[in-house]
């Protein structure tokens, strides 16, 4: 079976775009069989099909996962693999959109978004505050503000700020979409 590897990066807030992309790949005859950090997807040639992909960042224990996967199979969902805390599922696309969701309630989706913010985004920003920022400040105030060594930190800080802003906007959008309803 022909295989190919594709390098593509999706950040913490772009899992829905990733789901869509995997679905489009399957529709063009390539189904994903593995994914590795930082974004290396292994695809296998297949007959084009209409398949829905869903990603979940869960906090379910390993013992509960098996039960969950068994329940998923009844609904037509197959568990594929995991990457970096994210579980990948797929199922044959159904005419009725509500049958193409793992989670049919918004509060579960919001819970997951909060989990991602706590377990991934928070550490990301903490590393910036605790490691990158102090070094940048030290370099700027250390009299060697224009050294090559200093520039490495400036570039890193720049990357961090851009990434944090981009993800911040992403999280905000997700919150707006799924956090709307009250009472």
């Amino acid at each position: 079976m022909t295989q190919k590897r594709v390098l593509r990066f999706f950040d913490l807030t772009e899992y829905e775009a990733e789901e869509k992309w995997l679905s489009e790949m399957h529709a063009s005859g390539w189904k994903v069989v593995k994914a590795a950090v930082p974004g290396i997807y292994t695809f296998e040639e297949c007959s084009p099909a209409s398949v829905v992909y869903k990603l979940e960042f869960s906090d379910r224990k390993a013992s509960e996962q098996e039960d969950f996967h068994a329940m998923c199979r009844d609904y037509g969902w197959s568990y594929l693999f995991s990457m970096n805390g994210w579980d990948y599922y797929c199922k044959e696309a159904d005419q009725a959109e509500e049958n193409n969701e793992l989670f049919t309630d918004d509060s579960s989706k919001l819970e997951m978004i909060r989990r991602v913010m706590l377990r991934r985004f928070l550490p990301f920003t903490l590393i910036f505050a605790a490691v990158v920022l102090p070094n940048v400040i030290m370099k700027l105030l250390g009299g060697h503000a224009l050294d090559i060594a200093a520039f490495k930190w400036y570039v890193l800080a720049f990357f961090y700020v851009c990434a944090a802003l981009h993800m911040g906007i992403g999280f905000y959008r997700l919150y707006c979409r799924y956090g709307g309803k009250t009472a």
Binding site: E56, E64, D67, F68, A70, M71, C72, D74, Y75, W77, A96, E98, N99, E101, L102, F103, T104, D105, S108
Partner: protein, 105 residues
């Protein structure tokens, strides 16, 4: 009734109501989804993620209990506490219906 139970289940969400209603008979997750589709004429669909989460929560809260596992499927049934909560919700719905009827007179 426990304060926590009252806060979460009185009133309860529509999905929770249908799930509890369905579990007056021993069923497994997918069976409950099918029953709810039947009862609501396909208007309410409960996905596996939502179903698993709700069943776990209800079991932890004592509203339902695990009865048996057959072919890797876990079956559940409503408990006396669950019946008490369900009856309270039914009463609330009856009251709501009465008010609507009166308002339309």
């Amino acid at each position: 009734m426990d304060k926590h139970i009252e806060k979460v289940y009185c009133p309860m969400t529509e999905s929770a109501f249908y799930i509890l209603l369905s579990l007056q008979q021993e069923r497994h997750g997918y069976g409950i989804t099918q029953r709810v589709k039947e009862l609501t004429d396909d208007h309410i669909t409960i996905g596996p993620g939502t179903m698993y989460g709700t069943l776990s929560r209800m079991e932890k809260d004592g509203l339902i209990r695990f009865t048996q596992e057959r072919e890797k499927r876990k079956y559940y049934l409503i408990t006396p506490l669950g019946t008490e909560v369900l009856n309270r919700e039914k009463e609330r719905i009856r009251h709501l219906y009465r008010i609507v009827q009166e308002d339309e007179q």
